[in-house]
Protein backbone atom coordinates (compact mmCIF):
# COMPACT_ATOMS: atom_id res chain seq x y z
CA UNK A 1 0.00 0.00 0.00
CA UNK A 2 1.53 3.26 -1.15
CA UNK A 3 0.72 6.82 -0.17
CA UNK A 4 1.75 9.57 -2.57
CA UNK A 5 0.87 12.93 -1.04
CA UNK A 6 0.88 14.60 -4.44
CA UNK A 7 -1.07 13.85 -7.59
CA UNK A 8 -0.77 10.69 -9.59
CA UNK A 9 1.41 11.09 -12.66
CA UNK A 10 1.69 8.52 -15.37
CA UNK A 11 5.23 7.43 -14.47
CA UNK A 12 4.22 6.53 -10.91
CA UNK A 13 1.09 4.68 -12.01
CA UNK A 14 3.09 2.82 -14.66
CA UNK A 15 5.85 1.91 -12.18
CA UNK A 16 3.51 0.43 -9.60
CA UNK A 17 1.06 -0.84 -12.20
CA UNK A 18 2.67 -4.22 -12.72
CA UNK A 19 2.36 -5.38 -9.14
CA UNK A 20 -0.43 -5.93 -6.67
CA UNK A 21 -0.84 -2.66 -4.79
CA UNK A 22 -3.13 0.12 -3.74
CA UNK A 23 -2.03 3.61 -4.63
CA UNK A 24 -3.45 6.54 -2.72
CA UNK A 25 -2.86 9.96 -4.24
CA UNK A 26 -4.09 12.50 -1.75
CA UNK A 27 -3.45 15.74 -3.67
CA UNK A 28 -1.99 17.56 -0.69
CA UNK A 29 -0.98 20.65 -2.71
CA UNK A 30 -4.67 21.55 -3.07
CA UNK A 31 -5.06 21.54 0.70
CA UNK A 32 -2.16 23.92 1.21
CA UNK A 33 -3.13 26.72 -1.16
CA UNK A 34 -5.33 28.55 1.36
CA UNK A 35 -4.13 27.94 4.94
CA UNK A 36 -6.77 28.15 7.69
CA UNK A 37 -6.96 31.49 9.44
CA UNK A 38 -7.79 32.00 13.10
CA UNK A 39 -8.47 35.70 13.62
CA UNK A 40 -6.50 37.35 16.38
CA UNK A 41 -8.69 38.28 19.35
CA UNK A 42 -9.62 41.92 19.73
CA UNK A 43 -7.06 43.29 22.16
CA UNK A 44 -8.21 45.79 24.70
CA UNK A 45 -5.75 48.06 26.39
CA UNK A 46 -4.17 46.41 29.39
CA UNK A 47 -5.68 43.01 28.62
CA UNK A 48 -3.44 39.94 28.49
CA UNK A 49 -3.79 37.96 25.27
CA UNK A 50 -2.88 34.28 25.43
CA UNK A 51 -1.41 33.60 22.00
CA UNK A 52 -1.04 29.89 22.79
CA UNK A 53 -4.83 29.47 22.60
CA UNK A 54 -4.88 30.88 19.10
CA UNK A 55 -1.97 28.63 18.12
CA UNK A 56 -3.78 25.59 19.49
CA UNK A 57 -6.91 26.55 17.54
CA UNK A 58 -4.83 26.91 14.39
CA UNK A 59 -3.23 23.52 14.99
CA UNK A 60 -6.69 21.97 15.35
CA UNK A 61 -7.83 23.69 12.15
CA UNK A 62 -4.91 22.09 10.32
CA UNK A 63 -5.75 18.71 11.85
CA UNK A 64 -9.32 19.05 10.61
CA UNK A 65 -8.13 19.84 7.13
CA UNK A 66 -5.72 16.91 7.02
CA UNK A 67 -8.35 14.52 8.39
CA UNK A 68 -10.32 15.29 5.26
CA UNK A 69 -7.27 14.82 3.02
CA UNK A 70 -6.14 11.61 4.76
CA UNK A 71 -9.61 10.09 4.99
CA UNK A 72 -8.53 6.48 4.48
CA UNK A 73 -10.53 3.39 5.35
CA UNK A 74 -10.09 2.09 8.86
CA UNK A 75 -7.18 -0.33 9.10
CA UNK A 76 -5.19 1.27 6.31
CA UNK A 77 -1.47 0.81 6.94
CA UNK A 78 0.97 2.17 4.42
CA UNK A 79 4.15 0.35 3.43
CA UNK A 80 5.60 3.37 1.67
CA UNK A 81 4.91 7.09 1.99
CA UNK A 82 6.13 9.41 -0.76
CA UNK A 83 6.16 12.88 0.74
CA UNK A 84 8.23 14.48 -2.01
CA UNK A 85 8.80 18.16 -1.16
CA UNK A 86 5.56 18.63 0.77
CA UNK A 87 7.41 19.36 4.05
CA UNK A 88 8.57 22.62 2.56
CA UNK A 89 5.09 24.05 1.97
CA UNK A 90 3.88 23.52 5.51
CA UNK A 91 4.80 25.76 8.41
CA UNK A 92 5.67 24.13 11.73
CA UNK A 93 2.06 23.88 12.90
CA UNK A 94 0.83 22.39 9.63
CA UNK A 95 3.68 19.91 9.47
CA UNK A 96 3.05 18.80 13.06
CA UNK A 97 -0.68 18.43 12.39
CA UNK A 98 -0.14 16.48 9.16
CA UNK A 99 2.05 13.86 10.79
CA UNK A 100 -0.26 13.57 13.79
CA UNK A 101 -3.16 12.77 11.46
CA UNK A 102 -1.05 10.40 9.36
CA UNK A 103 0.32 8.54 12.38
CA UNK A 104 -2.50 5.93 12.69
CA UNK A 105 -1.89 4.87 9.09
CA UNK A 106 1.78 3.97 9.46
CA UNK A 107 3.19 0.81 10.95
CA UNK A 108 6.48 -0.49 12.26
CA UNK A 109 8.04 -1.15 8.84
CA UNK A 110 6.66 1.84 6.94
CA UNK A 111 9.26 3.62 4.83
CA UNK A 112 9.18 7.21 3.69
CA UNK A 113 10.86 9.52 1.24
CA UNK A 114 11.06 13.29 1.23
CA UNK A 115 12.97 16.33 0.07
CA UNK A 116 13.85 19.02 2.58
CA UNK A 117 14.53 22.58 1.50
CA UNK A 118 17.32 23.92 3.65
CA UNK A 119 17.49 27.46 2.34
CA UNK A 120 15.44 29.92 0.32
CA UNK A 121 15.60 29.06 -3.37
CA UNK A 122 12.65 29.55 -5.71
CA UNK A 123 14.21 27.23 -8.29
CA UNK A 124 13.47 24.16 -6.19
CA UNK A 125 9.83 24.93 -5.43
CA UNK A 126 6.56 24.10 -7.16
CA UNK A 127 7.70 20.92 -8.78
CA UNK A 128 5.82 17.75 -9.58
CA UNK A 129 7.41 14.39 -8.76
CA UNK A 130 6.93 10.80 -9.73
CA UNK A 131 8.64 7.42 -9.64
CA UNK A 132 10.23 6.43 -12.94
CA UNK A 133 11.89 3.26 -11.70
CA UNK A 134 13.28 1.75 -8.54
CA UNK A 135 16.26 4.09 -8.53
CA UNK A 136 15.02 7.04 -10.56
CA UNK A 137 12.57 9.85 -9.90
CA UNK A 138 11.08 12.28 -12.35
CA UNK A 139 10.56 15.93 -11.60
CA UNK A 140 9.13 18.73 -13.68
CA UNK A 141 7.50 22.11 -13.09
CA UNK A 142 4.27 21.62 -11.16
CA UNK A 143 0.80 22.82 -12.05
CA UNK A 144 0.14 23.98 -8.52
CA UNK A 145 -0.71 27.51 -7.54
CA UNK A 146 2.31 29.34 -6.16
CA UNK A 147 2.86 28.27 -2.57
CA UNK A 148 4.92 29.78 0.22
CA UNK A 149 7.89 27.64 1.15
CA UNK A 150 9.37 27.23 4.61
CA UNK A 151 13.07 26.31 4.43
CA UNK A 152 14.31 24.66 7.64
CA UNK A 153 17.22 22.61 8.92
CA UNK A 154 16.83 18.83 8.83
CA UNK A 155 16.74 18.50 12.61
CA UNK A 156 13.79 20.88 12.91
CA UNK A 157 11.82 19.05 10.23
CA UNK A 158 12.69 15.64 11.66
CA UNK A 159 11.44 16.70 15.09
CA UNK A 160 7.94 17.20 13.66
CA UNK A 161 7.63 13.95 11.69
CA UNK A 162 5.69 11.98 14.28
CA UNK A 163 6.47 8.28 13.98
CA UNK A 164 9.30 8.70 11.49
CA UNK A 165 13.05 9.15 11.84
CA UNK A 166 15.56 10.06 9.16
CA UNK A 167 17.57 6.98 8.29
CA UNK A 168 19.61 8.34 5.42
CA UNK A 169 20.13 11.70 3.75
CA UNK A 170 21.83 12.95 0.61
CA UNK A 171 22.41 16.60 -0.22
CA UNK A 172 21.51 16.97 -3.87
CA UNK A 173 23.11 19.29 -6.37
CA UNK A 174 20.05 21.51 -6.40
CA UNK A 175 20.37 22.09 -2.65
CA UNK A 176 17.48 19.90 -1.52
CA UNK A 177 18.22 17.31 1.13
CA UNK A 178 16.79 13.97 0.01
CA UNK A 179 15.91 11.88 3.01
CA UNK A 180 14.90 8.30 3.55
CA UNK A 181 12.58 7.81 6.51
CA UNK A 182 11.74 4.81 8.61
CA UNK A 183 9.38 4.44 11.49
CA UNK A 184 10.77 4.79 14.98
Amino acid sequence: MVLDVGFGVHETVAHFGNRRCKLHFCGLPDALTAPPVIPAPVQKTGQFVDESVRQENLLEAWRDRFRHVLNFPEGTQFDLCLFWDSFNYMDDLALKAFFEVLYPFIRKETLGHGLIQLKEDRQVTNREYGVQSQDQLVMRPGHHAERTSHPRPQARVAAMLKGFAVSHGVLRRDGLLEVSLKTE
Binding site: F25, C26, D135, Q136
Partner: protein, 166 residues
Protein backbone atom coordinates in the same frame (compact mmCIF):
# COMPACT_ATOMS: atom_id res chain seq x y z
CA UNK B 1 16.38 6.93 -4.98
CA UNK B 2 19.52 8.26 -3.42
CA UNK B 3 21.74 8.59 -6.40
CA UNK B 4 23.27 12.06 -6.55
CA UNK B 5 23.22 12.07 -10.33
CA UNK B 6 19.69 11.05 -10.98
CA UNK B 7 17.84 14.30 -10.41
CA UNK B 8 17.22 15.13 -14.00
CA UNK B 9 14.50 17.31 -15.38
CA UNK B 10 12.30 15.44 -17.80
CA UNK B 11 11.22 16.96 -21.03
CA UNK B 12 7.94 15.70 -22.28
CA UNK B 13 8.20 14.60 -25.86
CA UNK B 14 5.96 11.60 -25.94
CA UNK B 15 2.65 12.27 -27.59
CA UNK B 16 -0.62 11.31 -26.00
CA UNK B 17 -1.26 9.00 -28.91
CA UNK B 18 1.74 6.91 -28.03
CA UNK B 19 0.42 6.48 -24.50
CA UNK B 20 -3.00 5.40 -25.65
CA UNK B 21 -4.11 1.88 -24.86
CA UNK B 22 -5.37 -0.83 -27.11
CA UNK B 23 -8.91 0.43 -26.74
CA UNK B 24 -7.87 3.46 -28.77
CA UNK B 25 -7.86 1.35 -31.88
CA UNK B 26 -11.48 0.42 -31.54
CA UNK B 27 -12.77 3.66 -30.10
CA UNK B 28 -12.32 7.33 -30.56
CA UNK B 29 -14.27 10.27 -29.27
CA UNK B 30 -15.76 10.72 -32.69
CA UNK B 31 -19.17 9.08 -33.21
CA UNK B 32 -19.05 5.77 -35.00
CA UNK B 33 -20.68 5.32 -38.38
CA UNK B 34 -24.22 4.02 -38.15
CA UNK B 35 -23.20 0.86 -39.99
CA UNK B 36 -20.80 -0.07 -37.21
CA UNK B 37 -23.44 0.37 -34.55
CA UNK B 38 -26.05 -1.58 -36.45
CA UNK B 39 -23.57 -4.40 -36.95
CA UNK B 40 -23.73 -4.88 -33.17
CA UNK B 41 -20.14 -3.91 -32.52
CA UNK B 42 -20.80 -0.69 -30.65
CA UNK B 43 -23.41 1.80 -29.61
CA UNK B 44 -23.21 5.52 -29.05
CA UNK B 45 -25.12 7.52 -26.51
CA UNK B 46 -25.13 10.95 -28.10
CA UNK B 47 -24.22 14.26 -26.54
CA UNK B 48 -27.84 15.42 -26.14
CA UNK B 49 -29.07 12.18 -24.58
CA UNK B 50 -29.73 11.98 -20.83
CA UNK B 51 -30.33 8.65 -19.12
CA UNK B 52 -31.45 8.04 -15.55
CA UNK B 53 -31.28 4.37 -14.68
CA UNK B 54 -29.17 1.31 -15.24
CA UNK B 55 -27.41 0.55 -18.49
CA UNK B 56 -26.19 -2.93 -19.34
CA UNK B 57 -25.58 -4.77 -22.56
CA UNK B 58 -23.50 -7.06 -24.73
CA UNK B 59 -21.81 -4.56 -27.00
CA UNK B 60 -19.32 -1.78 -26.71
CA UNK B 61 -20.62 1.63 -25.73
CA UNK B 62 -19.50 5.20 -26.25
CA UNK B 63 -21.14 7.71 -23.93
CA UNK B 64 -21.09 11.35 -25.01
CA UNK B 65 -24.27 12.26 -23.13
CA UNK B 66 -25.29 12.21 -19.47
CA UNK B 67 -25.95 9.12 -17.39
CA UNK B 68 -27.15 8.78 -13.80
CA UNK B 69 -27.44 5.28 -12.40
CA UNK B 70 -25.15 2.37 -13.18
CA UNK B 71 -23.35 1.17 -16.28
CA UNK B 72 -22.46 -2.51 -16.56
CA UNK B 73 -20.77 -3.91 -19.66
CA UNK B 74 -18.81 -6.63 -17.93
CA UNK B 75 -17.48 -8.21 -21.10
CA UNK B 76 -17.29 -5.19 -23.38
CA UNK B 77 -15.59 -1.85 -23.78
CA UNK B 78 -16.89 1.41 -22.43
CA UNK B 79 -15.69 4.84 -23.50
CA UNK B 80 -16.73 8.01 -21.72
CA UNK B 81 -16.21 10.64 -24.40
CA UNK B 82 -15.04 14.17 -23.78
CA UNK B 83 -18.58 15.48 -23.51
CA UNK B 84 -19.78 12.49 -21.49
CA UNK B 85 -20.95 13.03 -17.90
CA UNK B 86 -21.49 9.82 -15.98
CA UNK B 87 -22.65 10.00 -12.37
CA UNK B 88 -22.71 6.27 -11.82
CA UNK B 89 -20.67 3.27 -10.80
CA UNK B 90 -19.32 1.80 -14.01
CA UNK B 91 -18.11 -1.70 -14.79
CA UNK B 92 -16.69 -2.90 -18.10
CA UNK B 93 -13.96 -5.07 -19.51
CA UNK B 94 -12.00 -2.09 -20.77
CA UNK B 95 -12.78 1.49 -19.80
CA UNK B 96 -11.47 4.64 -21.39
CA UNK B 97 -12.30 7.93 -19.71
CA UNK B 98 -12.01 11.20 -21.59
CA UNK B 99 -14.92 12.94 -19.87
CA UNK B 100 -16.46 13.16 -16.42
CA UNK B 101 -17.15 10.25 -14.08
CA UNK B 102 -18.44 10.60 -10.54
CA UNK B 103 -18.62 7.08 -9.23
CA UNK B 104 -16.54 3.96 -8.73
CA UNK B 105 -14.87 2.46 -11.76
CA UNK B 106 -14.19 -1.24 -12.19
CA UNK B 107 -12.23 -2.25 -15.27
CA UNK B 108 -12.04 -6.03 -15.55
CA UNK B 109 -9.05 -5.82 -17.87
CA UNK B 110 -7.90 -2.23 -18.12
CA UNK B 111 -8.70 1.39 -17.34
CA UNK B 112 -7.27 4.25 -19.37
CA UNK B 113 -7.56 7.75 -17.93
CA UNK B 114 -6.86 10.59 -20.33
CA UNK B 115 -5.68 14.08 -19.53
CA UNK B 116 -9.10 15.55 -20.35
CA UNK B 117 -10.96 13.47 -17.79
CA UNK B 118 -12.47 14.50 -14.47
CA UNK B 119 -13.00 11.63 -12.03
CA UNK B 120 -14.36 11.39 -8.50
CA UNK B 121 -14.40 7.79 -7.36
CA UNK B 122 -12.20 4.78 -6.78
CA UNK B 123 -10.65 2.73 -9.54
CA UNK B 124 -10.22 -1.04 -9.42
CA UNK B 125 -8.46 -2.74 -12.29
CA UNK B 126 -5.64 -5.15 -13.04
CA UNK B 127 -4.07 -2.66 -15.43
CA UNK B 128 -4.22 1.10 -15.26
CA UNK B 129 -2.81 3.71 -17.60
CA UNK B 130 -2.73 7.39 -16.76
CA UNK B 131 -2.11 9.48 -19.82
CA UNK B 132 0.85 11.79 -19.82
CA UNK B 133 -0.25 15.20 -18.60
CA UNK B 134 -3.08 13.82 -16.49
CA UNK B 135 -3.04 14.50 -12.75
CA UNK B 136 -4.95 12.15 -10.55
CA UNK B 137 -6.19 12.40 -6.98
CA UNK B 138 -7.77 9.35 -5.41
CA UNK B 139 -7.24 5.65 -4.99
CA UNK B 140 -6.28 2.99 -7.49
CA UNK B 141 -6.41 -0.69 -6.61
CA UNK B 142 -4.22 -2.59 -9.02
CA UNK B 143 -4.02 -6.37 -9.16
CA UNK B 144 -2.38 -7.62 -12.37
CA UNK B 145 -2.95 -11.24 -11.37
CA UNK B 146 -6.71 -10.79 -11.35
CA UNK B 147 -7.53 -9.84 -14.89
CA UNK B 148 -11.24 -10.62 -15.30
CA UNK B 149 -11.26 -11.37 -11.60
CA UNK B 150 -14.09 -10.76 -9.25
CA UNK B 151 -12.80 -7.71 -7.41
CA UNK B 152 -15.73 -5.53 -6.55
CA UNK B 153 -15.97 -1.92 -5.59
CA UNK B 154 -18.04 -2.86 -2.56
CA UNK B 155 -14.99 -4.46 -1.01
CA UNK B 156 -13.00 -1.35 -1.63
CA UNK B 157 -15.29 1.53 -0.70
CA UNK B 158 -13.52 4.26 1.15
CA UNK B 159 -14.42 7.67 2.35
CA UNK B 160 -11.75 9.21 0.22
CA UNK B 161 -13.18 10.26 -3.11
CA UNK B 162 -11.08 10.34 -6.19
CA UNK B 163 -10.71 13.70 -7.80
CA UNK B 164 -8.70 13.76 -10.96
CA UNK B 165 -7.84 17.06 -12.49
CA UNK B 166 -5.75 17.83 -15.46
Amino acid sequence: MFDRNKDKQQDKTETSASAAPAVESSYSSAPKPAAAASAGRSATLGATIKVKGDISGDENLLIEGQVEGTVNLASHELTIGKSGKVHADVTAKVIRIDGEVHGDITGKEKVFVSSTSNIKGNIITPKMTLEEGARFKGTIDIDPSHANGGASVSSFKSGNPTDKTS
